[in-house]
């Protein structure tokens, strides 16, 4: 049953996420604790400044008492394994604590707020790009597969190889150089102009700012996609049932979209989502080039400001999203592949 398959897959995804969080908190245990201790000291110092009607020895006693209390609260006095577990559980439940330097746009220091502010922006950018990439990639891939070895197939495959090792962020730098410095057509970065316009102009302004980053992602994204789609479709076109469909006189377009695409759908979806995940994980720092204040840019800022809690929270959220992507991938695959739906083996 698909229901059970889905439940099993989701549970496995959650388990994997929890396991990774445990491994991360083990790996980064030392630096996490150092940051937490500094934060506790800062907090106690801040609180003690508010207490005015105390003698110095009273103050000292109060301070050490408060320190003890906080250290107990954050379990810093417990054995190492317990501390690691405590932090892992905190991360899994999205309890990231407070940042050291970075603030959200409203000045809050909750890491979760900062992350949730950045997440929709990243999603906006990458999903817009994905839509374009899929459109161009599938069309081009089918065209390539129809005439393998033809001039279109050869030339686009050649371009695919040329841009194979091109970093997204470098293309972004080049586009900024060309469109911003030389042609002065687009803004160099950011989410909106300052001050941002109202109403319909706000949308236009946002699109104007999105143009270059999306262009960068699309320009590099669809080549590889179309190449893989070509290979999948080409493999299916060589099957016997396609030949028999053609022999029966079914129009070529129907063969392509009715017969071939139905069989190609599961691997196609896999490839599309995988390439989305890859560009998400690999292209994440390209946001920094465009100062697009999403999750990737947050990595950049957190590294520069040495803000460990934000860095950790960002890592956890990115890993979580990546996990979710992998789960969705398997779920759609199972949904499209009838063998899994009826309970057989893929």
């Amino acid at each position: 049953m698909y229901k059970w398959y889905a439940l099993k897959r989701i549970l496995r995804g959650v388990f994997m996420f929890a396991l990774l969080m445990f491994l991360f908190s083990l790996l980064f245990n030392q630096v996490n604790e150092r940051t937490q201790r500094t934060q506790i000291f800062e907090q106690v110092k801040l609180e003690s400044q508010k207490l005015t009607n105390m003698r110095s020895d009273q103050m000292e006693a109060w301070r050490s008492h408060r320190l003890d209390q906080l250290i107990k609260q954050y379990k810093l006095d417990r054995p190492m394994l317990e501390r690691v577990m405590f932090r892992a559980v905190n991360t899994v439940t999205f309890n990231f604590g407070k940042s050291t330097v970075i603030k959200s746009s409203r000045g809050e220091q909750e890491v979760l707020t900062i992350l949730m502010e950045a997440l929709p922006r990243t999603m906006l950018l990458f999903t817009t790009a994905l839509v374009f990439q899929l459109g161009i990639g599938i069309t081009l891939g089918l065209k390539k597969a129809q005439k393998p070895g033809g001039s279109l197939d050869k030339s686009t495959s050649f371009v695919t190889m040329i841009i194979f090792g091109m970093p997204t962020w470098w293309l972004g730098m080049m586009l900024i150089l060309f469109f911003v410095y030389f042609l002065k057509l687009f803004p160099s970065g950011g989410l909106n102009s300052v001050p941002s316009p109202q109403g319909i102009m706000f949308l236009v302004d946002r699109l104007w700012h999105m143009a270059l980053p999306v262009l960068t992602l699309v320009l590099l994204g669809f080549w590889g996609l179309s190449f893989v789609i070509r290979n999948i479709v080409l493999g299916i076109l060589q099957e016997d049932y396609i030949m028999s469909a053609r022999a029966r006189g079914i129009p070529e377009n129907k063969v392509l979209f009715g017969h071939t695409m139905r069989t190609a759908a599961p691997p196609l979806v896999t490839i599309a989502l995988l390439s989305f995940l890859a560009s998400f994980s690999g292209g994440i720092i390209f946001e920094g080039i465009f100062s697009w204040p999403g999750l990737g840019n947050l990595f950049w800022v957190a590294v520069q400001q040495n803000d460990i809690p934000v860095l950790m929270g960002d890592l956890a959220l990115t890993t979580g999203l990546y996990q979710a992507g992998l789960v969705i991938l398997d779920l759609t695959y199972g949904f499209l592949d009838p063998r899994i739906k009826v309970g057989g083996k893929a």
Partner: protein, 476 residues
């Protein structure tokens, strides 16, 4: 498998490979890159760039943010090119100088500089290594016979000390005096001297309003450093290694950055690291991946299940974010970076190799080997690995570009190893100095282009090998 078999299989592979044009191009570029790495000193304009990339004083004679030399071809006004003259013409003669108007026996180090451009150099720098007490007068003889006194040096108690005389900073007032003596009172009063470099004056024709309107004076200039023989004859006083650098407005094959570093040297020096990081990481990680897949398939059962689980953990990790956080916290050296790249990139070939090995272990020749008493490891290493490894060669080649990009991305964030030069680090410096918004294209285009060309090379190789090793993908 014997050596003969291997040679035969290689020949068979080569016969197929020869027909892949893109593969041959890739191989050609790769061989050329290897040649460049081996003969690196021949290609490097600045021989000691390795280890001196972040040493500011090593680059101080260069011009800041100078475009490449070949941009002169496309501009109407030609800019002076950076030249270094190592050998001085040494003469001993009786001559006058600013400090000895009556004339005295001097040793004269002279350099001839041919000026045939429209825009004057930025600076002229005289370098020497001296001992004891030395005084030195420096002047320039122009093609029109005028002598510009630029300054003098008096230094005592030196022991193998490097002296540096920059006309731009130390000769300013003397050169301004030169103009004041020759141009009209009105012309000086009418013009302002802001933005006028001493070299602008030296390399233009005499006129009443030299500060404002200048026409270049082309011809041979002689730059002289004069040391009185009376000081040189004293024991312990010595002048050595006199050399001259003319810092032009354009410099080198790829220009300089805002820290005056020669970018071409940086890129050539970065090539070996890109190749090294890419190749070593992909080879080791693919080897690990192949062995992992074979072992997992061959042993089966509990071993297979647990190994697949570990594999699944590694697949679920978003590599770049984890690498960023790890490098930000541990500040690793390049070796640790390579090691962690390997840790996260061996997962690639495992699945395919495992399924191929699952089929292979049921073949009759494996059964025969077992019947002859071959152990597990003998079968794995002697019978399975040699047959499966060639299929992963394409994986190896295709894994190189992503490895190079990973390292470059880390460096772009400023997390690279500061003791080496990589293209990503050059791009990091460019990004943090705002090169894109200031139009310093020669700083941004080449490093990224080289990363892309490296990726292209290995993509050519990888796709060509893929076609040969997996014939199903061949176009009909």
């Amino acid at each position: 498998m014997s050596l003969k078999d291997t040679a035969y299989r290689f020949k068979e592979f080569w016969d197929d490979f020869r027909r892949e044009k893109a593969g041959l191009v890739g191989l050609g570029i790769l061989l050329f890159c290897l040649l460049v790495v081996i003969f690196e000193p021949v290609f490097l304009p600045y021989k000691d760039v390795n280890g001196n990339w972040r040493n500011i004083s090593y680059w101080e004679d260069n011009t800041r943010a100078a475009p490449p030399v070949w941009t002169n071809l496309f501009s109407a006004k030609k800019s002076a090119v950076t030249v270094q003259i190592d050998e001085a013409l040494v003469k001993e003669e009786f001559t006058k100088s600013e400090r000895y108007p009556a004339g005295i026996d001097m040793r004269v180090y002279s350099f001839e500089y041919e000026y045939k451009y429209d825009l004057a150099p930025v600076d002229i720098i005289l370098r020497t290594v001296a001992d004891g007490n030395i005084n030195m007068d420096i002047d320039v003889i122009r093609p029109d016979g005028q002598v510009v006194y630029v300054g003098s040096y008096t230094e005592s108690g030196m022991q193998n000390t490097s002296l540096r005389f920059s006309i731009d900073t130390e000769g300013r007032s003397n050169v301004m005096n030169f103009v004041r003596e020759r141009s009209s009172e009105f012309g000086i009063n009418m013009s302002n001297t802001i933005g006028v470099r001493p070299t602008n004056i030296i390399f233009s024709e005499l006129a009443s309003d030299m500060f404002r309107a200048r026409t270049p004076l082309k011809g041979t200039y002689t730059i002289r450093a004069k040391v009185p023989m009376t000081t040189l004859n004293v024991a312990g006083n010595n002048v050595d290694d006199v050399m001259l650098v003319v810092s032009g407005r354009v410099s080198g094959i790829l220009g300089t950055d805002t820290s005056k570093r020669d970018l071409f040297s940086g890129i050539i020096a970065g090539l070996k690291w890109a190749l090294f990081i890419g190749l070593i990481t992909s080879i080791i990680s693919v080897l690990i991946g192949v062995m992992y897949g074979i072992i997992s398939a061959y042993f089966g059962g509990f071993v297979d299940t647990s190994m697949s689980f570990i594999w699944e953990i590694f697949v679920s990790v978003p590599v770049l974010p984890v690498l960023i956080v790890m490098s930000a916290i541990f500040k690793p050296s390049i070796w640790i970076i390579i090691a962690s790249l390997i840790v996260f990139s061996w997962v690639g070939p495992v699945k395919t190799v495992r399924s191929m090995a699952l089929q292979m272990k049921e073949e009759t020749y494996i059964e025969a080997a077992k019947a002859l008493g071959a152990g597990k490891w003998r079968i794995i290493f002697k019978h399975l690995a040699p047959l499966l490894l060639p299929y992963s060669f394409a994986n190896m080649a295709l894994a190189v570009p992503s490895t190079i990009i990973f390292e470059a991305s880390l460096s772009l964030l400023g997390l690279g190893d500061p003791t080496i030069i990589t293209w990503g680090q050059i791009l990091h410096d460019a990004q943090s100095s705002g090169a894109t918004l200031n139009g310093l294209w020669w700083w941004i285009v080449p490093p990224g282009l080289f990363i892309a060309v490296m990726g292209m090379t290995f993509a050519f190789l990888g796709f060509a090998m893929d076609k040969i090793l997996h014939p199903k993908l061949r176009t009909r």
